[in-house]
């Protein structure tokens, strides 16, 4: 098992209980990917992901123990 730390912003925070303020530590099987994480959280719309302070666009990227992941819902213009 591995543990990752997530922080969700704006409307995505509502995927977690309100008092969590978008923050959670989640457990995943070894070999799990960003797609698994998004599936677990029930996120199917367009998001922008920061993984350990890097912009990560590859959804097949494997999660590593201790990863810090920020997920943003966002419009792309405006």
């Amino acid at each position: 098992m591995l543990v990752i730390h997530i922080q969700l912003y704006s409307i995505l925070r509502e995927k977690l209980p309100e008092e969590a303020k978008g923050r959670a530590d989640l457990q995943f099987e070894l070999g799990s990917t960003l797609t698994d994480l998004l599936g677990e959280l029930g996120i199917s719309r367009r998001v922008v992901i920061s993984m350990n302070d890097e912009h990560e666009t590859d959804r097949t990227r494997e999660l590593q123990d201790g990863d810090e992941i920020k997920i943003f819902s966002s419009i792309s213009g405006g």
Partner: protein, 641 residues
């Protein structure tokens, strides 16, 4: 029978004090549809080239569309257009709120204003009746006070007031026109034009709802929007405001910081939409901000507007003046490396009280910050204000000084391009202006189609004139159906300036240009992430007007027509491709974060501009629409000028 519009244009000659009504036929409304395209028709016809933008010969048009005032989201917007005192070319800006719908209910589709009143006046339109009234007692008042005085004077709380603040009166070159004391037709200095005419306000009241061809279909569209909002891509924008985008821009290296020297800002989280929601929105302390801290435009289900309230501390903020958008948290915040949300909300309040565009204001201040940090400006120049990056107090003070044209503020009130010319000392190198207008908070070094659009846009840098690159890059898979309507079926590489990308920039620009002529909100309608897509827009036009043969191609031509009229307006002023320039700064590499080292390439940009002009059907050498193109767009009368 005509539907959607009143068929009435009010012409106001302020010099003569003469008002008259023109009643164009249906073909006119079908051809221009309203808003910006309609405004261009009057500007090209009623104004001679070469006039002083701040002189009586300039013409100011306030225009609605055939959709304004119908009960569906995203339609209560208005165009303000005139020759711009900021750029010297065409000026154009869009604003929302409740004024546009109310002006429609009061009986008019547009107001065309010429001349200059001898002393301050306001225009009062009430149920189709109109008159000019003395505004001497309102001159000098901030927006909230003038609005309250007018409500008392006219003894009606339901009037809608469109006005300039003291900055417009003093002709700050980026002064805007405001309604509700917090909704702005912000860009290109339209407030300065209104001020130069001694016109303090336009006040409207009316109850006549526009007729609609097929009410059931309009209602169906409205219901669809309300029930799909929560699952749409703008759900976050609705609840957390436009500043929800701060974090994703930080992540992708597109958050302009340190006056566009960097695409990342360490302090971003203190000023983003989520923090704003949790802290300074009205009602946040009691958890009631969802109800009290959000506001809307007439009939819009989205409610994206912010209402900030700060009762304690150094910067108290009055909720009457709304709250900052992403552009404002950026230009006052990350542009200047400032992470003090209260100070930013204060600067936003000052812009709305005094009536200034917060984009040009914050960006002009950012130019001064860089000049100061590079040693090109000293405390002597800045009236003793320390403009070290991150200094929030100086930013707030400077905002007020600009509004009042006091000391160094008077220099900056001319906009950064004129300020740099006046100061010299090599400070031109810090400009991020296109045709003299300061760039909004997006990053052309990463979203490269913006370099082409910003450079060629007739009224300078504008982020709401085209769809940004991500829609045809990594996000493409989410919007394939909508993008296919525009003719795009293949994803393009990130940071590319491929031919297909340039075609996308142009086609989406035409669609945005159409939306500015239909006066539709570009958060609600658009080609990608917006609530409604291109097909919905067509359906709305059909259902409201009854023009069942309208299709997407016809609407795109309305947008293309407007854009071509704007290029022709500029051509008459001697503004051509030579003015389609990307500022030097954007050819220098970004520093820090994910976008470290990214920059534009001069040859690539020039080649992209060639392509763009070719695709537009404009002369590649001059960037001016060809006679054939104008004929094709049924604009032969413009050639004859």
């Amino acid at each position: 029978m005509s539907h959607g519009y009143n068929g009435k244009i009010l012409h106001v000659d302020l010099t003569e004090g003469h008002l008259s009504v023109e009643e164009p036929d249906e073909a006119f409304f079908r051809k221009y549809m309203g808003g910006s395209a309609m405004a261009m028709y009057y500007l090209l016809n009623d104004m001679a080239p070469g006039v002083d933008p701040l002189g009586p010969e300039n013409v100011l048009v306030l225009a609605l569309s055939v959709l304004t005032g119908t009960a569906v989201s995203g339609q209560s917007r208005m165009t303000a257009a005139a020759k711009s005192p900021l750029t010297g070319g065409i000026g154009d800006s869009q604003g929302g709120g409740f004024f546009p719908a109310e002006m429609k209910f009061a009986g008019f589709d547009a107001i065309v204003i010429k001349g200059k009143a001898e002393k301050p006046v306001y225009l009062w339109i009430n149920e189709g009746e109109y008159e000019l009234r003395d505004a001497s007692h309102l001159w000098g008042k901030i927006t909230g006070e003038a609005e309250a005085a007018l409500k008392e004077e006219l003894d009606d709380n339901k009037i809608e007031v469109l006005q300039i603040g003291p900055a417009g009166e003093k002709m700050v070159r980026f002064a805007g026109i405001f309604s509700m004391s917090n909704r702005a037709n912000g860009r290109t200095g339209m407030g300065a034009v209104m001020g130069s005419k001694n016109l303090k306000a336009v006040v409207v009241r009316g109850k006549k709802r526009p007729s609609v061809a097929d009410k059931a279909r309009v209602n169906q569209l409205a219901r669809w929007g309300s029930s799909n909002l929560a699952d749409s891509d703008i759900a976050g924008l609705a609840k957390y405001g436009t500043a929800e985008t701060t974090g994703s821009n930080q992540t992708s290296g597109t958050l302009p910081a340190y006056n566009f020297n960097s695409g990342v800002f360490d302090g971003w989280e203190a000023i983003d939409g989520t923090t704003m929601y949790d802290t300074i929105l009205k009602g946040a302390a009691e958890g009631k901000q969802d109800r009290e801290g959000r506001d809307t435009c007439y009939a819009c289900t989205v409610r994206c507007k912010r209402v900030a309230e700060i009762k304690e501390g150094k910067y108290k903020v009055d909720p009457h003046y709304g709250g900052p958008e992403y552009e404002t948290t950026s230009t006052f915040g990350n542009y200047n490396a400032i992470d003090d949300l209260a100070a930013i909300a204060k600067a936003n309040e000052l812009c709305n009280k005094y009536g200034m565009d917060s984009i040009s204001c914050g960006a002009t201040i950012s130019w001064a910050y860089e000049a100061f940090n590079e040693g090109k400006l000293t405390l002597e120049d800045t009236d003793g204000l320390d403009l070290t990056w991150g200094n929030a107090d100086s930013m707030v003070k400077l905002t007020e000084k600009i509004a009042k044209r006091e000391g160094f503020g008077d220099v900056l009130a001319e906009g950064s391009a004129r300020a740099a010319e006046k100061i010299g000392r090599g400070t031109e190198e810090y400009l991020i202006t296109f045709k003299g207008q300061e760039a909004p908070a997006h990053m052309p070094r990463v979203k490269r189609s913006l370099a082409v659009i910003y450079a060629t846009n007739p009224f300078g840098a504008d982020h709401q004139s085209s769809e940004h690159d991500p829609a045809i890059e990594g996000d493409f898979e989410f919007y394939t159906d909508r993008m296919a309507v525009l003719g795009f079926t293949e994803e393009q590489e990130t940071r590319s300036l491929s031919d297909e990308k340039i075609r996308f920039a142009m086609a989406s620009q035409h669609m945005y240009s159409t939306m500015d002529s239909l006066n539709l909100c570009q958060f609600v309608y658009g080609p990608a992430w917006q609530l409604y897509g291109p097909d919905d827009m067509v359906e709305l036009v059909r259902a409201v007007t009854g023009w069942e043969r309208v299709n997407f191609e016809e609407l795109q031509i309305v947008g293309e027509r407007r854009l071509n009229m704007m290029r022709m307006f500029n051509a008459r002023e001697g503004i051509d491709r030579k003015a389609d320039v990307v500022p030097d700064k954007l050819f220098k590499p970004l520093k820090g974060g994910v976008s470290e080292g990214w920059k534009l390439d001069r040859d690539e940009v020039e080649a992209a501009l060639d392509k763009y002009f070719e695709f537009c059907g404009w002369d590649v050498e001059t960037g001016i629409p060809t006679a054939e193109k104008l004929e094709e767009l049924d604009l032969g009368w413009v050639v004859a000028e």
